[in-house]
């Protein structure tokens, strides 16, 4: 019985594997990309793509096969056009790791495009964040108007869309959010095979969170069902990127294997998957691949355009039965052949960093350094900065310096903050000359908050969400991009219009900023003391206003007078 139950999906999956599209042929693809990094660390990127071949916007979908019902219902209920959610722990170090396929900011990030039919976008957004908070066991319910912005140009829809009215977009980050296994479990449950078989069986929480960078994300968007784009499908793309450190995970050696990374090996593909592949990054040319010995040797190498360059990947197709024939499990291993490193790692074409300068708790400066290392091409970057209201930005202090000269942005969109309501939003389009460093700095003032507005441990500081840099980088080689289907998943995250440039979105570090704090232990004392001072004022005026001067009566004074007279006698003055 169990065998039959197992067999049916396998047959279905195999049937879905061939190229002919079917009426309701939902599909599922899984993929793992292993890229050894120059620093000796290794990045593993999982991609799971579930496609729902019906349009959630138009028809009422009540039957879900592979696509998670819970997300399908959320999309229909809140009229979502596109949804991107990520949870990240750690920071992708562009300088030593190279450019990421898809970076995510530390903490939680959510951006959603709503459909044009939505009347009250803010209401839908509020309810959606609360629902997602429940689905992913995350503190997304802390997203409110104080950390939500509507960028005008930084976030364009990635899927099939003709909406460009940015009022339908909402973007929020929670840089303080801590990602842990309770976020991973609901994420894994969205997969058709769960974490029982297939590549997802490698996702063991204990190993994943023992890493230098961990990012899991969910991207939902409408895509074309076929090349002619006659119908719309919905795509759920789940990505998980994890970077294992050479020293803490790899015992100081550059030898990696699936078992060493995940304490597991792949035993079988997900039977529902139409595609299940492992790619191993072999670099730009054959020179680099010689640094590693990859076992078992791959059946084929593929060339894929990534980041404007053709890269060579060793490919393992898990759906090919002979892969498991010999050993019943697959443990892809990279063995460092030793040999000299290829010299100084060349810096990434584009990267950015950010820091706070100044001292004291009154003012400060946020500085962002953007590097364009392209030898001869200038390109523009869209810069987005979201700063909470309690850092009061002064936009007149904004300076953008490139090579010692002022660089005037060609587009500025600034929304000033409102206390306890709105954050600052600064969006700029800046032209980066070739081989240059651009420094953006803006002054801010730290506000004193009410004592109840501070988070627990207020002297730890406040996290400021990373700035977002969206950029079209000119490619090194001119290449034609293939259509969506067929090519590896990791190369099809961002739609690219032509081959002359590629899109990339980078996030800078989140900032930790201290604010002045009141004394949390003495609200009563302060209330009493201030009221006393006001009462002193009130009392003395009241005294003078309501009473009149009179000559004192003949009566002798009381105790006070006696004491005063004693003092006067001591001083040798006549008594009163």
């Amino acid at each position: 019985m169990a065998a039959v139950r197992l067999l049916i999906p396998v047959l279905l999956a195999l049937a879905g594997g061939d190229a002919t599209p079917r009426a309701h042929g939902d599909s599922f693809q899984e993929e793992l990309l292993l890229s050894p990094l120059r620093s000796g660390d290794i990045a593993a990127t999982f991609q799971f793509r579930t496609r729902l071949d019906s349009d959630l916007r138009q028809e009422r979908v009540s039957h879900y096969r592979l696509f998670p019902k819970v997300l399908g219902q959320v999309i229909s209920k809140y009229s979502i056009q596109e949804l991107h959610l990520s949870f990240t722990q750690g920071f992708w170090r562009t300088r030593s790791w190279g450019q990421p396929l898809l970076q995510a900011p530390a903490g939680a990030e959510l951006w959603v495009w709503f459909q044009e039919s939505v009347q009250d976008v803010d209401k839908n957004w509020k309810e959606l964040t609360n629902i997602l908070s429940g689905i992913f066991c995350a503190s997304l319910n802390f997203i409110d108007s104080t950390n939500t912005v509507t960028p005008t140009a930084s976030f364009k829809p990635l899927g099939l869309a003709n909406v460009t009215d940015h009022h339908l977009l909402r973007y929020a980050t929670l840089p303080r959010e801590i990602v842990c296994t309770e976020n991973l479990t609901p994420w894994k449950k969205l997969l058709p095979c769960g974490s029982k078989v297939g590549l997802a069986s490698l996702l063991e929480a204990e190993r994943l969170y023992h890493s230098s960078y961990h990012s899991q994300s969910v991207h939902i968007r409408p895509v074309c069902r076929d090349a002619g784009c006659s119908a719309v499908s919905w795509e759920l793309r789940q990505m998980l990127t994890v970077v294992f450190d050479m020293y803490t995970n790899g015992l100081g050696k550059r030898d990696w294997s699936l078992f060493k990374m995940f304490s597991r090996t792949v035993t079988e593909p997900c039977p529902l998957a139409t595609q299940s592949k492992i790619y191993v990054d072999s670099g730009y040319d054959k020179k680099e691949i010689d640094l590693f010995e990859v076992t078992p040797s791959s059946s084929q190498d593929v060339e894929v355009p990534v980041h404007g360059d053709e890269r060579v990947y060793a490919l393992y197709d898990l759906l090919e039965p002979e892969l498991f024939n010999t050993s019943r499990n697959l443990n892809v291993a990279l063995k460092w052949k030793g040999g000299s490193d290829s010299g100084q790692p060349h810096p990434p074409v584009f990267h950015a960093e950010r820091y706070v300068s100044g001292y004291g708790l009154q003012t400060g400066v946020i500085n962002t350094m953007i590097y364009n290392n392209h030898p001869y091409r200038a390109f523009p970057v869209m810069f987005l900065e979201t700063v909470p209201w309690y850092l009061r930005l002064y936009v007149h202090t904004l300076t953008i310096m490139t090579k010692g000269k002022e660089n005037k942005p060609s587009y500025i969109h600034y929304v000033p903050a409102k206390d306890r309501q709105l954050p600052h939003l600064l969006e700029m389009l800046i032209q980066l000359p070739p081989n240059s460093i651009t420094k953006i700095s803006i002054q801010f003032e730290r506000a004193l908050l009410k004592w109840t507005e501070y988070p627990p441990d207020p002297n730890h500081g406040f996290y400021i969400s990373p700035s977002v840099l969206s950029v079209l980088i000119p490619s090194v080689r001119n290449m034609k991009t293939d259509e969506l289907e067929g090519s590896p998943l990791f190369s099809t995250i961002f739609p690219s219009s032509d081959g002359s440039s590629y899109f990339m979105r980078l996030y800078t570090e989140p900032l930790l900023v201290n604010l002045p704090t009141p004394d949390f232990s003495m609200p009563y004392n302060v209330i009493c003391l201030t009221c006393t001072v006001v009462a002193v004022g009130y009392g003395s005026f009241y005294n003078l206003l309501t009473r009149t001067f009179q000559v004192e009566d003949n009566k002798k004074g009381g105790l006070a007078m006696k004491i005063a007279n004693i003092i006067r006698r001591l001083r040798g003055v006549a008594p009163l």
């Binding site: 903050a417 302060v526 006001v534 003395s540 001067f549 004192e552």
Partner: protein, 447 residues
């Protein structure tokens, strides 16, 4: 500026006044050029969120970016200020120096005029035998009154508070100038100008509305109209003055509306003053109180504290209806103590008027202690601020404690002057040396 000053005061005191203005301008010009200017303009005692120059510049750059300056919570100046500085931003230093000189000259002229009026009235009362026989020591003499206008100008121009406020380019200087011009117009007996400047002052910072009864009383006094409910001329005058005032205010507000084509400024300026959302430390009583307040009592205490500022108007007006100029002084002092975002510039305005009441000095009880408190507190403000914000070795309570004692000192100072004023009035009518029925020396008490 010199020419203006020279033209303004044609009396024999013109030369010293010009000298004072020159010295004041020189000090300011030197400070503007020094590295201290940037430091001073960031001091929380000198600038508040309402009047900081940095925020004026921010408002103008927001306008340049096609963003309404009132859409955010940084800019809280009135629309007229932003348009004024739109043209004058390049000359801002000169504008602030002229403003200060103008304030001093206006105060000088006002006090000069007031002294004349006062002296005339004293003469009249003497002829009418309204003063007690033994009160001759209390009468004011021309030699003593002669230097008072100059002292007022010096107290304003050379007061370190004013200098700091000017160097920080706090728009408080403009409020002070408007109030000084209002006092001048009132003392000179011009209802129209008085109403115009009072409405300007109200429009700028809301609180000067409490000066309305004082101005009205003075103008009535000047016209010899008794303050009686039954007299029709009293009502006509009151209505005239009120409608002038309200008319000017309406024109100003409508004008502001047409400048920016939105009513946002009402909430952003007056709502900001009244609801105290910005808790940036200052020398006042509000910031720490509301930072530490329990959320559900917050609204109640905001109301109580704001009513407290306006409340004193009614009893003070009743008590001081014969002395409207002293009433003005009291109101200005109370505003600068209890307002929501006070700065040292506000304190400087009422302190400049203290020489006017130098004849009260014999009745002041604790002027020495209070002066010491004020001086010590002023010196401790930057020290404790440094310890809290930069060194991290103190906490907010230290700075708060200084604001408390500074305000206690101010309250004691003002109530002391009030006491002295009332006591002098009593002695004027009952004689300086009071005796009991049995002929022994009597003591005076409040009952």
């Amino acid at each position: 500026m010199l020419r203006a000053a020279r033209a303004a005061c044609s009396g024999n005191m013109a030369a010293p006044l010009v000298l004072v203005v020159l010295v004041a301008v020189t000090i300011r010009a030197i400070l503007f050029r020094s590295s201290l200017a940037a430091f001073i303009s960031e001091r929380v005692e000198v600038v508040s969120p309402l009047n900081s120059w940095k925020r004026v510049v921010e408002g103008m750059s927001l306008l340049d970016l096609d963003v309404s300056p009132y859409s955010g919570d940084v800019f809280h100046e009135t629309p007229l200020i932003i348009y004024l500085f739109h043209f004058l931003v390049d000359y801002s230093e000169i504008v602030f120096m002229i403003t200060d000189a103008l304030t001093a000259v206006a105060l000088y002229l006002a006090v000069q005029e007031y002294n004349k009026v006062l002296f005339k009235r004293q003469k009249l009362y003497l002829e009418l035998k309204k003063y007690a026989a033994g009160a001759h020591d209390l009468l004011r003499v021309p030699t003593e009154m002669h230097y008072i206008p100059l002292k007022v100008a010096i107290f304003y121009l050379l007061n370190p508070y004013t200098v700091l406020s000017c160097v920080a380019k706090s728009t408080c200087a403009i409020n002070n100038a408007i109030i000084a011009l209002f006092i001048l117009a009132t003392v000179k007996g011009s209802p129209l100008l008085s109403a115009v400047f009072l409405s300007l002052a109200t429009y700028q910072s809301l609180y000067p509305i409490t000066l309305f009864p004082a101005a009205l009383l003075y103008l009535l006094q000047k016209e010899f109209i008794p303050v009686k409910m039954s007299s029709p001329s009293f009502w006509i005058w009151t209505c005239q003055y009120s409608s002038l005032y309200l008319g000017c205010l309406t024109i100003l507000i409508c004008h502001s509306f047409f400048l920016l084509d939105s009513w946002d400024f009402i909430h952003s300026v007056y709502g900001f003053i009244l609801s105290v959302p910005d808790l940036t430390p200052n020398i006042g009583l509000f910031w720490y109180f509301f930072a530490e307040m329990f959320a559900h009592f917050s609204l109640f205490f905001v109301c109580v504290f704001q009513i407290n500022v306006f409340f004193y108007t009614v009893p003070l007006t009743i008590k001081l209806k014969e002395h409207p100029v002293f009433l003005m002084f009291m109101q200005i002092a109370i505003i600068s103590i209890f307002k929501s975002y006070p700065t040292v510039g506000d304190v400087a305005l009422y302190m400049a008027l203290l020489p006017m009441w130098s004849h009260l000095s014999r009745f002041l009880r604790n002027i020495f202690i209070v002066s010491c408190m004020l001086v010590v507190c002023s010196l401790l403000f930057p020290v404790l601020w440094h310890l809290w914000i930069y060194a991290g070795s103190a906490n907010s309570n230290f700075y708060y404690a200084i604001t408390l004692s500074f305000n206690v000192a101010q309250i004691l100072l003002v109530s002391d002057y009030f006491y002295a004023f009332l006591r002098r009035e009593y002695h004027l009518h009952h004689g300086l040396y009071l005796t009991k029925k049995d002929g022994t020396e009597a003591t005076l008490i409040l009952k």
